[in-house]
């Protein structure tokens, strides 16, 4: 325990780069396939939840935004750092590299 605290005290600056790779993915919002998947979810699993019927709208609301356009703009125009994969199967856990953008 004391060694961990000592380590913390010894790290004053932060000048190291972290190795990373850049991937570019096309992204679609409100596309027919996603819409069909949500409809199937509503029909077969549950028909009411805070994130239904539009989970991007829900993210906007949870972040105190009027509508989802800011979220979409943030995802599409800011580079995201992937810090984890498959917390939800196949999905990245991303943080915007520019703090001015919304972090949903």
């Amino acid at each position: 325990m004391s060694r961990l605290v000592d380590l913390e005290h010894s790290l004053t600056g932060f000048s190291e780069s972290i190795p990373s790779r850049v991937f570019r993915f096309p992204i679609l919002f409100d596309d027919p396939l996603a819409r069909a998947a949500i409809d199937e979810y509503i029909t077969t699993l549950r028909n009411s939840a805070v994130y239904l019927p539009d989970n991007v709208e829900y993210v906007a609301k949870a972040n105190g935004l009027e509508n989802s356009s800011v979220i979409k703009k943030s995802l599409a125009s800011c580079r995201q750092l992937v810090v984890g994969i498959s917390f939800l199967a196949g999905m990245p856990f991303m943080l915007p590299l520019d703090p001015r953008y919304v972090n949903p």
């Binding site: 060694r3 961990l4 380590l7 913390e8 004053t12 972290i18 750092l81 810090v83 943080l95």
Partner: protein
């Protein structure tokens, strides 16, 4: 242990087997205990298991609970111009849980955590360290030597790297099943 979501309590290793016995509809009651108590309970469980293994006659498992408990926060480092407040917490009976700054995730904080994870990995008595979005978890060997072997073979998944984000009030709690 969770995949990064805030938890209010952590089941101690001594009771993993009881958690494994729970079925849908069962009632779970948590009780706050101390780290010392958690280690004693683990020894009790392991002693029982080794008795069974050795073919000795065993009585019913003792499931009485200790009353003492302690604060989970082990150390705090005040915030600096580059780092938010760092808080070290007990995480279950085998892990330390370290959080950086307020409950907000950012790429910068994650990078800061990664910077530390690399250094902790080089310490020779740390079994594993896992960086999460805002925290890192460490398992020092001192907590697992000798007393954990039998239970580890039965129900421990500590070979799989996992993340503990304990949240601000993570405590070592004890779990038991209520027969109703």
């Amino acid at each position: 242990m969770t995949g990064g979501l805030v938890t209010t309590c952590t089941v101690v290793k001594a009771d993993f087997w009881r958690l494994g016995q729970c079925r849908p509809g069962d009632t779970i009651h948590f009780k706050r205990i101390s780290w010392e108590s958690a280690l004693r309970l683990r020894q009790r469980t392991e002693h029982y298991l080794s008795s069974v293994k050795d073919g000795e006659t065993v009585s019913l498992v003792d499931v009485s609970l200790p009353d003492e408990w302690e604060d989970t926060v082990l150390a705090r480092i005040p915030k600096t111009p580059t780092t938010g407040e760092v808080v070290f917490r007990q995480s279950g009976d085998s892990y330390l849980h370290v959080t950086y700054g307020p409950m907000v995730s950012s790429a910068l904080t994650r990078a800061l955590v990664q910077y530390r994870v690399k250094r902790v990995q080089d310490m020779n008595d740390i079994i594993e360290v896992t960086g999460a979005v805002r925290c890192k978890s460490e398992q020092p060997t001192a907590l697992t030597d000798s007393i954990s072997r039998p239970i580890r073979s039965a129900c421990d998944n500590s070979e799989i790297p996992h993340v503990t984000l304990g949240g601000p009030r993570a405590q070592s709690h004890r779990i038991f099943r209520v027969n109703s």
